[in-house]
Amino acid sequence: MNQFINKNLYGDYGDKEQAGGAEGSNHNTAAEWPLWEVFIRSKAGLDHKHVGSLHAADAEMAIENARDVYTRRLEGISIWVVESKYIHASDPATADSMYEPANDKVYRHPTFYNLPDELTHM
């Protein structure tokens, strides 16, 4: 099966647009409803968490669709949606250098400090 694959599409829409659109895309997506990322707060006191994505014509429809697709079993009490093209992501290929500054700083963790066993409430 021959299919067109657009690499690095996901989570990188903004970059792609700045770079002048999808390279070599031969598929007309003009009639497709935009893609939205869905975040759900499962109960008061917890963060909204990414659960997946869906297509919708506008934000209102995205929230209603998200309710039907992602909260059929009381999974949420609050929904955020954001159009996927507004998500910018770090590049996994540069993860090594990106997170390098934290590598040699074990002293940021409480277990780094050797204290006597008799010490309590600390």
Binding site: M1, Q3, F4, I5, N6, K7, N8, L9, Y10, G11, D12, H27, N28, T29, A31, E32, W33, L35, G52, S53, L54, H55, A57, D58, M61, D68, V69, R72, R73, A89, D91, P92, A93, D96
Partner: protein
Amino acid sequence: MTVHSFQQHFDEKIDNDVAIEPRDWMPDDYRKTLIRQISQHAHSEIVGMLPEGNWITRAPSLRRKAVLLAKVQDEGGHGLYLYSAAETLGITRDEMYDQLHTGKAKYSSIFNYPTLTWADMGAIGWLVDGAAIMNQVPLCRTSYGPYARAMVRVCKEESFHQRQGYEIMMALANGTDVQKKLAQDALNRWWWPSIMMFGPPDDNSPNTAQSMRWRIKRFTNDELRQKFIDVTVEQAKLIGLTIPDPDLKWNEERGHYDYGTIDWNEFWDVVKGNGPCNKERLETRKKAWEEGAWVRDAALAYSKKRKARKENKKDNLAA
């Protein structure tokens, strides 16, 4: 990426059970295999709504009707989880639909069989969803992150599907002679197609080795089929139904049931499009897609209009 090549880095992740995420480097064939598998899986969920949709208006009670509606709605939801997982690999939704509608992409052959009686709702839930669960549980640990996460949600929801199906079969099996006959007849018709759902035998399944290497698949087709048969035979006994396989026999040495020869000619015939309902299923899908086009266009036009109106208001205020 200085020390390792991309491929090496990818292989190490696979070997160490580190999930592959959408923006990570991956071999083209891995991406293609996943797109094929996930989109086929999504298509199966969507087409899978049709045989059961056939009975919603004729469910024997309000309770059964509400349950069947919820189940069919779940299948639609599962299709959507999976389509969005496939989209993270760089294929568009419309492109996947197009592949389905032109017959380029397949869906599970089981949905090309007709649902003739109410008992088929029981048999589908019990056997077809049962086999799907057997297939899907290991996929919760598949190597591609978005697929694995979608499968976790699917599996959580699928369990009620199987239980409601078994409950229907149980009610019929404990009912009148006619009801019992209906249940047995449904089991007779769905048994073989259900165990074919695991795909061709291992020695005739060209993609299995590579998919196992990539940890997309965790068990072979035959392993899963055997597991399904072993548990389902006992479930049939519990409600007094007979598996339609005269060669079915417990093998003490293997610790498994031996089973009769599967008619793979039938399987390939249905895959090729010659099953009882292939044409009807595809046409129903295409019709829904084509006749829904105006709704999609209208929603998009409405959203554009509203956006434009908002912009105008802003301009007027600024002026």
